[in-house]
């Protein structure tokens, strides 16, 4: 806590610049448990409409738990999650999905015995029927998926599955896109491609909350960032400031 206090002045100013923006998502003092394990210890996060915000931190810091708490896979024990000012904590995942929140989960989690096309159709499940324009857009972003349209998702490479997981999330026409480790297990050249696509998606009007271990890449495209450590927010600032922050450079950017 003392660290947060000493490092937060710059963070406050960053949040201040967005004070007038519409809030897409707010987490207020969220505490989430796995059984007896206290995984999130009073997390407070704001995401404004149109932003890319990133959560960085090491393994086990609570990044994925935060996303699962937002998407309704986990319910916080205390605190609340607000979507466009409306409380969604405790609402089951399938209802959150219907509020135009889409998640590309950790480990991709594509449906292995369904084809690429069927996976994309599943993405549009909340809308009942798939919008051909959305499909065209996904194929535009990921031409590889179009080539593999009838292939079973479980037989594709990790990179292709990652594209499919993101494409599937986009088929839901989300206002808020939650991306969990889109760079995991991918070749560096693919990582750059994925991040530039995330920027494109954002420019087309989707708010993005991006969870990443690759802090350099994530801060490169985000406006703001939060650093998580063992279930708490260590510091928050605008992305450029975090990139210059000495502690962040040492701990997460691998500099000595």
């Amino acid at each position: 806590m003392s660290q947060t206090a000493t490092l937060s002045p710059t963070g406050d100013s960053a949040v201040g610049t967005h004070a007038t923006a519409t809030k897409m998502l707010e987490l207020r003092d969220v505490n989430t448990y796995y059984g007896h394990i206290h995984a999130l210890k009073g997390i407070t996060i704001d995401v404004n409409q149109g932003e890319i915000v990133t959560l960085i931190g090491s393994n086990g810091a609570g990044k994925s738990t935060t996303l699962k708490t937002i998407s309704g896979l986990l319910a916080p024990r205390t605190g609340e999650v607000l979507l466009r000012g409306k409380r969604i904590s405790g609402v089951p995942a399938h209802k959150v999905a219907a509020m135009r929140v889409a998640q590309s989960p950790e480990g991709r989690r594509v449906f292995p015995r369904m084809s690429v096309l069927e996976n994309l159709q599943m993405g549009a499940f909340v809308h009942g029927k798939m919008d051909p324009d959305d499909l065209a857009r996904v194929f535009d972003l990921f031409p590889r998926l179009k080539e593999r349209i009838n292939q079973k998702a479980g037989t594709m490479s990790g990179g292709e599955q990652q594209m499919l997981a993101i494409g599937r999330a986009l088929m839901a026409k989300p206002d808020l896109l939650l991306l969990d480790e889109p760079s995991m297990g991918l070749a560096p050249i693919l990582v750059e491609g994925i991040f530039s696509i995330v920027q494109d998606i954002n420019k087309q009007g989707t708010t993005v909350l991006l969870v990443e271990q690759n802090a350099l890449m994530a801060l490169g495209i985000a406006q703001r960032g939060y650093v998580l450590q063992t279930g708490s927010i260590l510091l928050t600032d605008n992305a450029q400031a975090l990139l210059r922050n000495e502690m962040v450079r040492k701990a997460y950017l691998g500099e000595v």
Binding site: P105, R109, F111, E118
Partner: protein
Amino acid sequence: MLGPVRVRDGNPWHMSDAASGCRFGSGIERDEMGILLMDFEWTLFFQFMIIGLASGSLIALIALGYTLVYGIIELINFAHGEVFMMGAFFAATLVVVTGVTSDSSTGLIVSVLILTLLASMAFSGLLNAAIDKLAYSRLRKAPRLAPLIAAIGMSFILQNIAIYWKGPNPFTGPDLIPSEIRSYNVLQEWPLLRDWFADSTLRLRLIDLFVIGVTIPLLIILSWFVYRTRIGTAMRATAQDREAAALMGIDINRTIGVAFLLGGGLAGAAGMVALFYNNSGRFQMGFTYGLFAFTAAVLGGIGNLAGAVVGGFLIGLIWSYSDGFMGTFVSGWGSQWTNSVIFSILILVLVFRPSGLLGQEVADKV
């Protein structure tokens, strides 16, 4: 090419060397007229195939219920056989309530049969879904053993309800299908078949066709439902990755409920058909059929729908051949060995191909 096809068998002059043992293999010949001469062993072979396919249909319908539920929540629903049995009991009671008997007009009998089939499906489907709501849904996050034991408990409860309902002894099926219709042998009655099978003792009864005639459309409707409808797609997605399915906006609890409803409905249809096919029922009928159907589901690859159907027909055929046919070759072989054969096969499958004949290895979740 077929010429004047006729089947003749069981004719003493053609059985001359039967006493010397099995002549299986050279047993179907054509005589100079092109008439098919079939040894009695071959007739038995086909006769027990017919019986095996009919029992196999029933087992397949029940096995689908095991596999549907297992595919989604990885629970062996040990009460499933009892849901099948309750379907048969419900059908027996419903027929009596309608007051229609074998003396009624054909139209009335057929209407009551269709009504009973649909009502038994609805009854068992709702029963299965209710059992899930009452017992299993509370245990979704409990260790796996808890719902398993709850399922065994539900099966005892249902058996005791059944004893209360119709007593502990076997009862005769309702007097609805006239016995001359039950045993109506289409091979001797239908125009073209009558000519072919004139001299054969092979029997294909109307009741055998009834079993297959109910099963096949149900299998087609089920696969259409699972592969072509929105809820079916949701079921498949849930079976493959429950969390990811929830993120797609699929209501997991509702989908699980649908799986129980569907599996129960098929078991109800099987129960109704089994009641008329065997012309009897008993509170323990769910145990026998249920165990065979569970074996069929595992044999085919539990969680795999096509596997349950293949496994069902295989177990039905093995059951039938072991009961009646093997005795022709091995003296003293009869139905007392059937359970041993079926469960030996189950053990061999589990040892050498644990995912079953058509089951996939569980996909890696990286």
